[in-house]
């Protein structure tokens, strides 16, 4: 699996209230919900984000609430991948569970600039900043998580497992 796109860069501790403020959590329509993604930090995000764009951020991305709405609005905004120095644990689980590609790589997250063109190979963990012609290596996911990612998330993974049993 690969992702390629232009980056939008943010700082450390991007919390779930920033990603999707709780005042919108009564909205079940995913398209409407996604229109509020990042709005308290970056009011233009929903307008400027293009399909395949890549979010690059510092440490502890997605800290705070357990709301799955957070990775969901990022995915529904068209973002192809989030690269961060580190992820908060519930966000990390949620992203994998719903099939939002994420990759943890402090070196890449620090070096890549806003607006750079970046390509990621998830199978090898290779991250390439095409604009700067720099390459980085992230740790690939442990096998079990990779198989869940390959299945497209936790629900598909469970369904595949139960079908295999039958």
């Amino acid at each position: 699996m690969r992702a390629k796109g232009k980056t939008i860069k943010y700082g450390d501790n991007i919390d779930t209230d920033i990603i999707i403020p709780a005042r919108y959590l009564n909205i079940m329509d995913r398209k409407e919900l996604a229109s509020h993604c990042m709005e308290d930090l970056d009011a233009d995000f929903a307008k400027k984000v293009n399909d395949g764009d890549i979010i690059v951020a510092g440490s502890n991305f997605g800290c705070g609430s357990s709301r799955e709405h957070a990775p969901q609005v990022i995915k529904d905004s068209g973002v192809g991948c989030v690269i961060a120095e580190s992820f908060a644990r519930i966000f990390y689980r949620n992203a994998i569970n719903i099939g939002l590609p994420i990759i943890e790589c402090p070196e890449a997250a620090k070096a890549i600039n806003d607006g750079d063109e970046v390509e990621i190979n998830f199978d090898t963990g290779d991250i390439k900043d095409i604009t700067k012609n720099e390459s980085f290596k992230a740790q690939p996911f442990p096998g079990f998580l990779q198989s869940m990612i390959n299945a497209g998330g936790l629900i598909n993974y469970i369904n595949e497992k139960s079908e295999n049993k039958q």
Binding site: D40, R93, I155
Partner: protein
């Protein structure tokens, strides 16, 4: 190699004698929790799994607490989705308006979590029940769906930070001050992916309400769970907060002492960390040196002692006393101790939210509600409401609030230019009286 207390609970739920940090496991879940925000998404996801029924109707708890009593039509629709699901699945523990409370105050109070349990909840503050000696952690809605359908969930076995407590806290220093102090010390990702395991002779000076508040905010340091050893106070709390089902396991005439003796055998399991357990880091805190602590905007780690905060003359517009962190009976008593015979300052709105119906009733019986109302505060029905900027006390542009809640992120309680200062009920009540962030000692 020895195991931490958290690792032992995970091992027991995986059917293994030994686990190592970093191992990926699939564990059996004792309790699955969701609220009116996260459950509708989980219900939608569960419909995609080849399972018609929840794995155990007695082990799924749905609490309507965030946007209730329904703040608008969309919230009402979401609560209705949960209500209909609970009805069709015959869920035993569905808590709606009139029976509900803020989930993390309600579940220990109803005796739904026992020492040694493995609990997951689609709410990050599910970490609260570590105070009872359980392994309890927050997950998302898809995890909740999977746990409801299968009774199992995957985990990465965590390392732990051991936090050794010594000394006795002085007057006006609470569990809230301790956890804010720790977060200030280690940072909002200081315990990322790790357990925070508390121990030491200082534990005995922390009430159960203190411990619940401390574990509640383990997530604010990035922690996977917070956990306290089980001692006599834990046993006393559990024995006096039994579910009907668990009470029935003891003889009709069994007294508190008999029930306490049965915790760990008749109900629940008591785990202790091995002496040779390995910790990723160790921290020692002398409780006698702690001061009331305030987290300034916009991170819980941005802490100052009350002396520093008071010197800054921070003028406030609102005070909120409540939430899953500090809406328990001792929090109500602390607020009343300060507000008794005093008045909320002009131009300050003071909103007090007992966390459950039981706490509301107890506050009424003790005359606390009368003290609050006479002081000029308002008392609300249980709700998470203002803590997450839902309803019941939203802040306008540039307004400031001293709050006993758990997060002070940008826009958390309302306008993105508003500010939330996290503190204990003592500090919040004192600040309500003066109109500035204040030490209770300054006015008492």
């Amino acid at each position: 190699m020895g195991m931490t207390m958290s690792q032992k609970i995970l091992a027991a739920h995986t059917g293994k004698n030994e686990l190592e940090a970093g191992e990926l496991i699939e564990a059996d879940i004792d309790l699955v929790l969701g609220n009116d925000i996260t459950s509708p998404v989980a219900i939608r996801e569960m419909a995609k799994i080849n399972a018609d029924k929840v794995y155990d109707k007695d082990k799924v708890v749905l609490v309507m607490d965030h946007f209730v009593p329904n703040k608008d039509i969309k919230s009402a629709e979401n609560a209705k989705t949960c209500r209909e699901f609970a009805c069709s699945q015959c869920i035993s523990h569905f808590y709606d308006v009139g029976k509900m409370g803020i989930e993390h105050a309600l579940i220990p109070e109803k005796g739904l979590c026992l020492p040694g349990d493995l609990v997951v909840g689609a709410d990050s503050h599910t970490v609260t029940y570590g105070a009872l000696g359980a392994f309890s952690t927050g997950v998302g809605s898809t995890d909740m769906a999977a746990a409801m359908a299968t009774g199992k969930l995957w985990f990465k076995v965590p390392q732990a930070i051991r936090i050794r407590l010594k000394g006795k806290p002085s007057k006006y220093v609470t569990g809230k001050d301790l956890i804010l102090h720790i977060i200030g010390k280690i940072g909002v990702d200081g315990a990322l992916y790790q357990s925070m395991e508390f121990c030491g002779e200082g534990v005995k000076y922390l009430s159960m309400d203190d411990r619940l508040a401390i574990c509640n905010m383990a997530i604010e340091a990035g922690g996977k769970n917070g956990i306290f050893p089980v001692d006599d106070q834990t046993l006393e709390y559990v024995a006096t907060h039994l579910s009907e089902k668990n009470r029935a396991l003891f003889g009709e005439n069994a007294d508190i002492e008999e029930i306490k003796k049965g915790i760990g055998s008749v109900i629940g399991h008591i785990y202790e960390a091995d002496d040779d357990a390995v910790y990723a880091a160790e921290l020692e805190i002398d409780l006698s040196e702690l001061k009331p602590t305030v987290s300034f905007p916009h991170l819980p780690s941005n802490t100052r002692t009350i002396d520093e905060a008071e010197d800054m003359k921070v003028k406030i517009d609102q005070v909120v006393i409540g939430s899953c962190t500090n809406g328990r009976i001792s929090d109500m008593r602390q607020a009343a101790e300060v507000l008794k015979g005093r008045k909320v300052a002009d131009n300050v709105r003071c909103i007090i939210i007992p966390a459950t119906q039981e706490i509301y009733l107890q506050s009424m019986r003790e005359g606390l509600l009368e003290i609050f109302i006479e002081a000029g505060a308002v008392v609300s029905t249980p709700t998470c409401g203002p803590c997450l900027g839902g309803h019941m006390g939203i802040l306008a542009d540039k307004e400031r609030c001293v709050s006993t809640t758990n997060r002070n992120f940008v826009g958390r309680m309302g306008a993105k230019t508003s500010e939330v200062y996290l503190a204990s009920p003592y500090v919040a009540a004192a600040s309500a009286v003066t109109g500035y962030i204040s030490s209770p000692a300054s006015i008492m």
